[in-house]
């Protein structure tokens, strides 16, 4: 099973990298872009795992390692059964 985890800054945390990307896009003329938030993507291959296994493991490793819960949040989805 393959899982994709998206880690990004919490809404309450400033994201200066996202801001810089937004400014660059504005410079290119994409004025409709209101905001950009930058994050990290992890694709994890879970050998022989069931959906229940993933539901246990993924939030655990996201909280413990992949994201810093003080500044970041995460979402995840199964991308390959």
């Amino acid at each position: 099973m393959k899982v994709r985890i998206l880690v990004s800054f919490k809404d309450s945390v400033l994201d200066p990298q996202g801001q810089t990307v937004k400014n660059a896009l504005h410079t290119l003329g994409y004025r409709a872009i209101k905001d950009v938030r930058q994050g990290k993507v992890f694709e994890i291959d879970l050998a022989g795992a069931t959906k229940a296994d993933a539901e246990k493991i993924i939030p655990e490793i996201s909280d413990k390692v992949l994201a810093n819960p003080i500044i970041e949040k995460f979402t995840w989805q199964i991308i390959e059964a």
Binding site: P16, Q17, T20, V65, L66, I70
Partner: protein, 228 residues
């Protein structure tokens, strides 16, 4: 007082720190390899600057899982003295020995320059040889030094006088300009509630000899080795 300097793969201020402790402050100092076990009876653990584990994932994020760091955590829980400098500060935050987290510098630049910091709390084992309001001239060299903590945490650390240093002007004034990396409350150095663990972004070990342009950082090491 016996010091132990931890070496991670990617540490690069380890020799500077070791040199200052051994030859300038003249204390017995040993190396502690991150994969070893046992703190060999040291009285103070120093986590030096650098880029432990390449700073992959987040600064300090992987280093905290080193076998030795689990023992440093237990050492701190028992009241052992721990000092984290720059990357060492980031490791202490990731480990949860200090509250908060580091974000990228506000201008998205790696900052390598002398700064001035104001001593906020002189009643600590890390600063009791200094004076409140004293301004130190020390260098910084980091990408992620923009201190962040949620409002309730910030309130708590201010109420407990855990802020030890703030970025300031040479006259001690707190301005946006002096707060070079954008840290909340201009925080440059912070200790835990108990007062036995401190982290700071500036490098006191690079400012402990006249030859290097400043001796202002020595007050930290001299405080640690003196009776508190």
């Amino acid at each position: 007082m016996k010091f132990g300097v931890v070496i991670f793969p990617g540490s690069n201020c380890d020799f500077d720190t070791f040199h200052v402790l051994k030859n300038v402050i003249r204390q017995p100092t040993i190396w502690l390899w991150h994969k070893d076990h046992g703190l060999q009876g040291v009285d103070c653990v120093v986590l030096p600057g650098g880029f432990a584990y390449g700073d992959y994932l987040r600064s300090g994020a992987i280093a905290r899982f080193s076998p030795l760091m689990q023992e440093v955590g237990e050492f701190a829980d028992k009241g052992g003295v721990v000092l984290g400098i720059c990357n060492g500060f980031q490791v202490l935050l990731e480990l949860g020995l200090l509250p908060g987290a580091m974000l990228r510098n506000k201008n998205l630049k790696f900052l390598c320059q002398f700064v001035t910091i104001r001593l906020e709390n002189e009643r600590t084992r890390f600063t009791h040889k200094g004076k409140k309001g004293q301004v130190l001239r020390v260098p910084i060299a980091h990408f992620d030094g923009n201190y962040f903590a949620p409002p309730e945490t910030l309130k708590e650390i201010e109420e407990n006088s855990q802020v030890v240093f703030r970025y300031s002007g040479a006259n001690g004034s707190l301005t946006e300009e002096a707060n070079v990396n954008g840290s909340l409350h201009s925080i440059a150095g912070l200790m835990n509630k108990r007062g036995n663990v401190m982290g700071l972004m500036p490098h006191p070990e690079r400012a402990s000899e006249r030859l290097l342009g400043s001796e202002d950082g020595r007050v930290i090491f001299e405080s640690i080795i003196s009776k508190f």
